[in-house]
Amino acid sequence: MLAVDVEKQLGALKLGVRFDAARGVTALFGPSGAGKTSVVNMIAGLLTPDRGAIAIDGTVLFDAARGIDVPPHRRRIGYVFQEGRLFPHLSVRQNLDYGRRMSGRPHEAAEFDRIVALLDIGHLLDRRPRMLSGGERQRVAVGRALLMGPRLLLLDEPLASLDAAHKREILPYLVRLRDDAGIPMVYVSHTAAEVRRIATTVVRLDAGHVVAAGGLELIKDADIDGLD
């Protein structure tokens, strides 16, 4: 289980967020500028909170009071960025393999093949990221994060840079991932329809604070009309 309780001053926005995320997909849902991306960056270790603590399955990743701040490369948290951020100088295969190589784990062909099949990217392995469509790029980014063997997967608006057709292409993979992989996920989105498809728990953020947390009932039909 992920336990987040952080505070940070971000320009004019005073961010103070507290929530727990259990198994399944926890959606951080709210309008742009609510501080969603900052929260996942803090979980990943890319942004340092001013105060508070972050722990996962009892392991403390950050604790301002105790001076604990595990660097990102030792947190073992997969991160799928909005823009994919595939390494342009590496092939798709090398991108997928990067996390495993950096952690020095042996190559597990079965695991590699399983995730490549899950995301349907086997025909892309020898290509460069530049030669992929937006949807293919995001599938590879998801695969790269999964293949590092994460204990938690962060997805920051993974569909935001895609057009409607590509969004429809990717969502089923993410749903399959939720049902098959068994890795807890934190899914950032401002799109209600997307959250409804994928999330099991919803944390609503507004202006840097949690305004509600609970089940899918928190997504009102008004959200879907208003935000989509």
């Binding site: 960025f81 342009p88 990067y98 950096m102 460069r128």
Partner: protein, 231 residues
């Protein structure tokens, strides 16, 4: 056409050796200084920036003279290096390499710095979340992405080192077989009667070498770009 005398061949080989050694030794410093200038902020950064670029704007003779009074055998740094490491620069080809390296250094640092500044830092963050510590991020993401700039810096420094004249001749003189490069031999030949033909041959070689360096850099840069951005 290339009917060179042994003395002329010696000068050509020596020039190449000096330029290669100067460039190779300058490269690690060039990457380190380029990184410092591109990525860090510290007190005295603009001073460092100025010192690095000084050889580009100062008369080469001044650079050579400063080397002479610092790196000469009896000079403070020169004497220290001689007694502790057995490294002697004055009137040796190594001194020529030092002078050429320093003269080429600003031309090397600039493209490396620009390349490092142009790299999307978010890719380095992504590498960190995938388990790469900072040295590995640098080796597997930063350096490969800066490669076109590094190639450009290497070629510019090499070309400058190959043609360096003023600082070299001031620091290590013009000794055949030791410090007499293509440039200083051409200079010598133009000072003696009947040296025009030989000088002409060497001028031709200098032009060919410069072109070869340019073509090599174009080719390498294109290969690097194909690797990064697809066909």
């Amino acid at each position: 056409m290339l009917d060179l005398t042994p003395a002329e061949w010696t000068a050509v080989a020596l020039s190449l050796r000096i330029a290669v050694v100067a460039t190779a030794c300058a490269l690690p410093f060039g990457i380190a200084i380029g990184w410092l200038l591109a990525r860090t902020n510290f007190w005295g950064k603009s001073v460092l920036d100025g010192i690095v670029f000084l050889p580009l704007v100062m008369p080469p003779v001044v650079t050579g003279y400063l080397l002479l009074i610092w790196f000469g055998r009896k000079a403070p740094i020169g004497a220290f290096l001689d007694s502790h490491f057995g490294i002697v620069f004055s009137f040796r080809w190594t001194g020529a390499a030092l002078a050429c390296g320093i003269m080429g250094f600003p031309l090397m640092v600039r493209p490396i710095r620009l390349a490092l500044e142009a790299i999307d830092r978010k890719l380095e963050d992504a590498a960190a979340t995938l388990g790469a510590n900072r040295p590995w991020v640098f080796l597997t993401v930063t350096l490969p992405l800066a490669l076109p700039g590094i190639i450009a810096g290497v070629v510019l420094c090499f070309a400058r080192a190959l043609g360096e004249f003023g600082a070299t001749i001031t620091f290590v003189s013009n000794i055949p077989g030791e410090t007499q490069t293509i440039s200083s031999l051409i200079y010598t030949l133009t000072q003696v009667p009947g040296g025009d033909a030989a000088a002409g041959r060497l001028v031709l070689i200098a032009i060919v070498l410069a072109f070869a360096a340019l073509f090599a850099s174009e080719w390498l840069a294109r290969r690097a770009s194909v690797r990064f951005h697809g066909e």
